[in-house]
Symmetry: C2
Subunit: 308 residues, 2 copies
């Protein structure tokens, strides 16, 4: 049968999926990205694993790769802070040499957007934005039915819009980027800022180092006021970001993608409220705020496979 391979490269793990044309994941594999001494060793093993997935009577129609700082034009991972090798890594061309089918690479947020378009909730949409919320914050932007790569291939890094000038220090070295407010660390930082306002909170008594967004969700569901306030503030930050993003490309929907979306309405409701409250009048009550409709565990490999 006709199959694609989707590869999701992360700083910790590299995940492989063998995927049928209708989006069924037939086989999954993973290797530890950090366990290789050199990039050459890593890419050799990656190629060998990918080859091992395809059976004799399968027809491999393409390989798609999603990666942090992946550039669609160059096919390289460029200076990704979370990768073990922080130079330009010619991933696409190395894989092309080893296979007889189309091979494409892009960044993980763009791959998520393509996955949403091909296999998820955006099949009928021409203008939408997928926002990825995780260690980093990014986006994949569809306009006129096509993904926006921009002139240099790096369009969509909305985690690094300076939303609060002079605000929190971001991992990129600048101040006020929205990523510093709503990535996993940023949400914990909001908790630290707010805990003194909620001295009764049980959540506030837990050692900060062991708190995760999952734990905050659990306390919020029990009505813990600090936990609810953390979601309120996070919703305020993301809501303002969406209201500002609306102005650029006026999408039909924003799709939220990433582990934190497990919090469901706890997160979506304050986002939607603050988005509308900050929206220019001509855009009010027009755009949907949805969760990604890709199955979470397979979203990244499905997105990568959607590239080809």
């Amino acid at each position: 049968m006709k199959v694609r391979i989707g590869i999701d490269i992360g700083g910790t793990n590299t995940k492989f999926g063998l995927i049928s044309l209708d989006g069924t994941v037939l086989k999954r594999l993973r290797i530890a990205t950090g366990s290789f001494d050199t990039f050459d060793d890593y890419i050799t093993e990656l190629i060998s694993v990918a080859k091992s997935m395809v059976k004799k009577d399968d027809e491999l129609v393409g390989i798609g790769i999603g990666a942090p700082n992946g550039n669609v034009h160059s096919g390289m991972i460029e200076f990704a802070p979370n990768m073990p090798w922080k130079t330009k890594l010619p991933v696409r061309d190395k894989i092309r040499e080893a296979f007889d089918c189309p091979v494409e690479l892009t960044n993980d947020a763009n791959a998520a957007a393509m996955g949403e378009k091909i296999f998820g909730g955006a099949k009928e949409m021409n203008d939408f934005v997928v926002i990825t919320l995780g260690t980093g914050v990014g986006s994949g932007i569809y306009i006129n039915g096509k993904l926006a790569y921009g002139h240099d291939g790096f369009a969509g890094e909305i985690g690094h819009v300076i939303t609060y000038p002079g605000g929190r220090l971001c991992g990129c070295g600048r101040r006020g980027c929205i990523e510093a407010y709503v990535n996993a660390k940023g949400i914990l930082r909001t908790l630290t800022e707010e805990k003194y306002n909620y001295p009764e909170s049980e959540l506030g008594k837990i050692d900060e180092k062991s708190v995760t967004t999952k734990i905050i969700s659990e306390y919020a569901e029990k009505g813990d006021k600090l936990a609810l306030q953390v979601f309120e503030k996070t919703g305020e930050y993301i809501g303002l970001t969406l209201a500002n993003s609306m102005v650029y490309t006026s999408p039909e929907a924003f799709f939220l993608f990433g582990g934190i979306t497990k919090a469901g309405e706890l997160l979506r409701k304050p986002i939607h409220h603050h988005m509308e409250a900050n929206m220019l009048n001509i855009y009010q009550n027009k755009v949907k705020v949805l969760f990604s409709q890709l199955p979470e565990d397979d979203a990244a490999i499905l997105g990568a496979a959607a590239l080809v």
Copy 2:
């Protein structure tokens, strides 16, 4: 010969241009938008003026209209604050009824971007943004060689990105929009804020009501420190806006459009400096900051004509 008509509708004047296919303006006319009692009277006169421009042996290939809050999908001017009639005005369809050629309408910033693409400095570019600086601040965004209208036809209102949360009150009723800092009034407000820091300035001694951006330019050229500081701050505001805009669509160039661009390098230099200073590292030293290359007096009608 084959001709187009470009119509630039403004709250004060409506300008008409008869334009050859290579972009030469063959004839210009204008009427006062505000001099009509009703929208029906206005549109009747508009159609009559447009008809009078075309000679018997001309072949009219299309009419393009640029207008504030013009919506390409509906063909209407929708709730434009500066128009005498603040409802939905079905301009495109009224004109279509009167002519036998394609008629299209969009907002003035989108028209400026199309003019730049067809007749100006962006002929060879697929990804670029035109920023219009005037009474309002807007943009027209090209991505993948096409103008971004968004799902509702209103993409590009970047004057209303909330860049300084809680900041200056904007005409739209919200706070912190960049328009409140860099439109004509916003620049004068910067002057008012700064004048007490420059007690020696000659510019600071002029009655504020008679100051214009042209006067500020003249003082800046003579070395007046207050005038230079107004350009420095305006450059800071616009520069941050461009750095933030870069993240969405990563254009090859930003084109600055509008009367204030007559200030030339006085304005462009601080914009470029602050844009690079606020730019995420992967975008640094990539994007050009240029002035519109459309002839200023005819830019709006050329842009409108580029629609068809």
